[in-house]
Every structure is written in C-alpha cells, then in structure tokens.
C-alpha cells in the first residue's frame, strides 16, 4: 500500500485513497461516498458497478471536482501520477479537466449544449487545452469525428446536437473527451440511455479506441453484463463503499460478497430461459443515516448478528481479490478449518 517503497516508475497512474464525499442538504449530511480506495494503471480498464445511489457517479465527480454546490470531498486523497489533485486550485483543476482526465456521461441527449453547433463545442474542447490555430483546431475536430466513426464529419460539424441521433451524440461526446488525448477517460454509464444495438456499437468503439490510443478507462455502470469482457478489474460499490474488488473472472465466477452474488443472480441470461430472474429485495440504504453495521445487512438473506453491529472489514481472498463481507470471512474460516482438518 505504501507508495514510498515503490520507485517512481511503479506508481500507478491514479490512486484513490479513502475518498469520502458528502452532500450537505437541508435534511442533513448525505454521505454518498464513504471511503473508497483503488488504483488504476495506465492503459487499464476499471469497472465500477453498483445500483443507483451507490456513489459510483459521485466518486467520479469527486475526482473531476465537478460536484454540485452542496457536495464536498470530506476526506481522502486522489493521486494522479503521485500528485494529489484534490489540492489543486480551481485554475489548475480547469486545465487538468478534459486534458488529463476526461469524462463522458449517461445521457447524450442532454449532455451537449443545444445552442452551440457540434463543431463549436468540439473546437472549444481543443482550444482550451492546446495552442492550435484556427485551421489546426478545425482539422483536429474533423479528425476526431472520423476517429469515432461519425459519417459525413464535415456536415456534422456544422449541425446542432438536436439534428443528431443519440448514438451520434455519444460519439461526439467521446470525440470531445478524447480530443486532447487524456490519460484517463471516465465513462459514466455511457450506454444506459441508448438502444441496445447502439449500446454494443458504442462499447465496441470505446474498446477499439482504448487499444488505439492506450488511455485508461474507468467504466461506471449498473449493468455488470456491459463491462464483463471489457474490464481488467471490477469494483462493486454499495452505499458509497467498496464491497468487493477483483478481476472480472473473480467477480463473475467466485463472488464473495452477498451483494455481488445478488447482482449476478439478477442478470438476465439468454441461455437459461426457464430460470426466474432474482431481484435483490428491498431498496437502497438511506445515506442520511447509515447503519452501524454492514449497509447491505437489511437486504441480505444471509445476514448474521455481527453484520448488524459491526462494519465488515476488507479481507483479501487472494492477491487481486478483496471482499468486505462477514459471510466471506466465515466462508474463508470454514475453508481454512476444513483444510486444517483434512491435514
């Protein structure tokens, strides 16, 4: 965990350490993110999965410091190439956003400004972070549109967002985000608002661009299926905390947190037509009053006494796999005992 022992070259591109974010509303402090930590290496794809209100988007907004007025990062560090970007002043942050880390959002219908042309919005993104002249900016904008597979790019530059389809607009968003060659692209549910066929196209595009340009991606989604074959690592979030972290295989085939197991059971599968979908019962936890114990305990079928009174600790299942669940602890103890008994 300690960065000091690592040589500079081995420092991960992005380290998020114990990040806490709260919103101060009239009703009280809403604790949206409660101590998440993860590392992201250059060129890797990290998936963050969780249901609505689990803090996955807020954690990304916290990195970019584009929280709404009431939101504040209350604790933690975000190290980009070893530098804490939470300490940046607003001017440093402005030049950081969009050039080192870019972001695309859920609903391309509402994310582009309706009163500016596609070209003007693209050129703006390029102009802010580079010192290209007019022609070079225009050329770059055109090049980006071609890169993301927009047909008739010259015509599109002159059009307004409302003249483009949802898939086109998301492509434009991607072009805008990648125009200044960022090291990290944060994609906040980039396909949720799109048709299923377009979803697949956009995901494919992101994958191919990731290979071509080599940036790292943080993929935020509520749909495990979407990111299964894309991600090097997956984080499962619940109530602003990391429940489980591991490689895609570990999360899918050896889930250790009861919430992750529930998520996987709730994915529809075409191969097993007769199987009923199993939803996770209950509703997300109230972030105004977080329970003393495990936040998921009230919805968990296997909750034990300890789950209600004590926060589960993160336990390493193996080098890459971590779960924060008392059931996992019990399971591991049982496995150990069995192992001990058989010896």
């Amino acid at each position: 965990m300690s960065t000091e022992s690592n040589s500079q070259k081995n420092v991960p591109l992005l380290q998020v350490k114990n990040l806490h974010t709260s919103f101060y509303t009239d009703a009280g402090e809403v604790k949206a993110v409660n101590g998440i930590s993860y590392n992201l290496d250059a060129g890797k794809v990290l998936g963050i999965v969780g249901e609505s209100g689990s803090g996955k988007s807020v954690s990304a907004y916290s990195l970019m410091q584009i929280l709404t007025d009431t939101g504040r990062v209350t604790e933690g560090e975000v190290l980009f190439k070893g530098e804490n970007i939470l300490k940046y002043n607003s001017k440093q942050m402005q030049s950081f956003r969009g050039s080192r880390i870019s972001m695309i959002f859920q609903d391309p219908m509402t994310c582009l400004n309706p009163v500016f042309s596609v070209g003007s919005q693209l050129r703006e993104a390029i102009r802010i972070h580079t010192d290209r002249n007019r022609e070079e900016t225009q050329a770059r904008a055109l090049e980006m549109l071609q890169l993301v597979g927009v047909n008739e790019p010259e015509k599109r530059l002159k059009q307004y967002p409302h003249e483009l389809s949802g898939g086109m607009r998301q492509r434009v968003m991607i072009a805008m985000a990648l125009a200044c060659e960022p090291d990290i692209l944060i994609a906040d549910e980039p396909t949720t608002a799109l048709d299923v066929t377009i979803q697949a196209q956009i995901l494919e595009l992101m994958q191919s661009l990731q290979k071509k340009l080599g940036m790292a991606i943080i993929m935020i989604t509520h749909d495990l299926g979407v990111i299964a074959d894309m991600c090097d690592e997956i984080i499962v979030m619940y109530a602003g905390k990391v429940c489980e972290r591991g490689t895609a295989d570990e999360i899918f085939y050896n889930p250790r947190h009861e919430y992750t197991k529930g998520l996987i059971r709730s994915i529809p599968r075409i191969t097993e037509q007769h199987e009923k979908l199993v939803p996770i019962a209950g509703s997300p936890v109230d972030l105004l009053n977080l329970p003393k114990g495990c936040a998921f305990a009230s919805r968990c079928d296997h909750a034990m006494k300890i789950c209600l009174t004590q926060q589960p600790e993160e336990v390493q299942v193996n080098d890459s796999h971590i779960a924060a669940c008392w059931n996992n602890v019990r399971q591991m103890m049982e496995e150990e005992n069995r192992g001990g008994a058989s010896k």
Partner: protein
C-alpha cells in the same frame, strides 16, 4: 422522388409568378394612385415569397409580414367601428356650433356618410399614406404622431435598454447567489416593483425626487429630464426580466450540458456567461419583444403623470376629445409597432435557439 418533387415545385413557382404578374398588371391599370400600386406590388411579392423561398426563414418572414398586415387591418376595423358605435362624435359638445357649421365640418370629415363607407374612405386615405387631420387641432395626424413618437422612442429606448441589461445582470446575480443575501434583496425589490402599479410609482417618484428632495425639475416639454420617467417606465419590466432570468438561469445551471462544459475544463466565467446565459436567454427574449414595443410607444399613464407629450399622451387626449383620426392613427401606429417587434423577437429567438424551426 426528389426529382419529381423538384419538378412539381418548379411548376408551382411558374404558376404563382404568372398569376402574380397578371394580378399586378391588372392592379397597375386599375388603381389610380402610385402608392396603392406599390402596396399591391409588395403584397403580391410577399405572397409569391411564401412559396418562392427555398429557405424556411425567408418563407416564414413573408408569411409573418402578410399576417401582420392582416392583423393591423383587423385592429383598425375593430377600433373604427367600436369608436363609431359610441354615441356622440367629435363635434357634439356642450357648446354645439350652429347646424350649418356642423354640417360643413361633418362633410369635411365624411361624418355624414354611412360608417362602412367612412371606413373604406379612411382605408383609401391610409393606402396613400394619409392619416388625415385632427378634428381638434386641424394638424396632420402623421406629423403629430412622428413628433410625439420621437419623444416616446427616446424615453422608451433608454427604459427598454436599461430594463434588459439590468434585468439580465440582477437575474444572473440572484441565480448565482441563490438563497444568499444578494438573492433575497434582489427578489424582495423586484417583487415590490412588479406589484406596485406604474402610476403609483410615477407619482411617488415625482413626490419624492421633485417635490421633497428637489433633485430633478418637474418634467415638462420645455425642460427635459428623462431620468424619472425612464425609471418609472423601466422598473416593472426590469423586475420581470430579473425574475425570468433567475428562474431560467437556475434551470439551465442544473442541466447536464453545464456539467459537460465543466468537465471539459471550461472556465467558470465562460460556463456561466457563454454556456448557461445563451440558453437562459431563450425565455427572456419572448418577453423582451412585446415589452420593447410597449415601452417604446410610451406607457400612457407614466407619460401623463410626467406630461412628456409623447405618443401615449396624444393617444389619451385623442380618446377624450373624440378625435377620430387621431385615435385611428395612434392605434394603427402602435399596432404596427407591436406586430413588428413581436416578429423581430421571434426571429432573434431562432438565432439564439437553433432547435426552433419555422415550418
């Protein structure tokens, strides 16, 4: 498909052009006065224009101008007939002139004719650019209107400009400081100014600044100070614009594209004044067009209180004197101005918001 459509369109255009030319030719021979010929030509040009322009905006403008002419005509007719429906007339006074004099006067202003004929005669005059002469002063209506409009326009121009600029600034300040002291103060005063009728505000201003504090001379045509009437005219629309801007700005600032702009690294100042304001302007523009016309033509009450001698005053005087040509002249002038301003604001609307289509 595309080709046959184009063919059809060509034929349509040809037919309309020929029809237009024939109509125009007939009109040219038939109509006696040059101004009428020109007017007819213009209307025919506009009619063909509604079909001719391949571009939506051109067609739209032609259509709107035609509709505007129709609107003004209808307003003129309504005013004319309702004005004549009221018993009495310009020359029925306490000290009535002798029957012979009255007959001569009525003859001169065509008052002895049936109302329908009177209206047609008035329209005929109007088409020749003749608004008639005042029954009260005997002066040309058009000169009176233009002279008094010059005063109203100057006054109203300042007021409209101030209302828009201050309204936008205060509205943005209130939106950006939502819930804080600045917002509360602005909203308190704008609510007050919207609620207080302009004649009370005007009288209050006169009372406080002219009579009590002696800061300004009491307004008259000889000693002109525009400060107080401009303030009285501007406060209410300014307050309305402030509130409109605030609501619309708050709405826009919560939109996803503002978050996108911030995520792109756009400076906070530009996020607000470029990305947000242009969107927030859209509802404001709808209000500004008619408001400008209203202010430009001079609020009758404010002008009466400050005795500015503007168009509003003339309108009120016209009504109390039963000065038929004056009432008609001012009504038509105001209606035209109002219709023009609405058209202009609709066109600006299109420039600001590309989503609006005219078809």
């Amino acid at each position: 498909m595309d080709l046959t459509q184009r063919d059809l369109r060509r034929k349509q255009l040809l037919v309309t052009c020929i029809l237009g030319a024939v109509l125009f030719g007939a009109g040219w021979l038939f109509l006696p006065v040059l101004s009428e010929k020109i007017l007819l030509g213009a209307v025919i040009l506009l009619l063909t224009g509604t079909l001719f322009f391949s571009n939506d905006t051109g067609r739209y403008i032609c259509k709107r101008v035609l509709l505007a002419i129709l609107t003004v005509l209808i307003i003129a007719a309504i005013t004319f007939f309702s004005m004549n429906a009221i018993p009495g007339g310009p020359f029925s006074k306490e000290k009535a002139p002798s029957a012979a004099v009255q007959a001569v006067l009525e003859e001169r202003f065509h008052l002895n004719e049936p109302v329908g004929k009177q209206f047609l005669l008035y329209l005929e005059g109007l088409m020749q650019g003749n608004f008639g002469i005042s029954t009260k002063t005997g002066r040309e209506i058009s000169t009176t209107i233009f002279d008094s409009f010059a005063i109203s326009a100057k006054l109203g121009g300042y007021a409209a400009l101030l209302a828009v600029v201050l309204g936008l600034v205060f509205g943005s300040i209130a939106a950006l400081n939502r819930g804080k002291a600045a917002d509360r103060i602005i909203i308190f005063f704008t609510t007050l100014f919207v609620a207080v009728p302009s004649f009370i505000m005007a009288t209050l201003l006169l009372l406080v600044f002219c009579l009590q504090l002696n800061w300004f001379p009491i307004f008259s045509t000889s000693n002109q100070s525009y400060v107080l009437p401009v303030i009285a005219l501007m406060l209410s629309p300014m307050s309305y614009i402030t509130r409109l801007t605030k609501t619309s700005m708050l709405d826009v600032l919560g939109q996803d594209y503002i978050r996108t702009a911030r995520a792109k690294g756009v400076k906070q100042v530009l996020v607000i004044f470029k990305h947000a304001l242009k969107n927030a302007l859209i509802p404001v523009i709808t209000y500004v067009g008619p408001m400008t016309a209203y202010i430009l033509t001079g609020s009758m009450v404010v002008e009466s209180v400050f005795t500015t001698g503007g168009l509003g005053t003339k309108f009120v005087q016209g009504i109390s004197n039963r000065d038929y040509p004056m009432i008609m002249g001012t009504t038509i002038f105001l209606a035209t101005l109002m219709v023009t301003m609405t058209l202009i604001s609709d066109l600006i609307y299109k420039i600001v918001d590309p989503r609006i289509s005219f078809d």
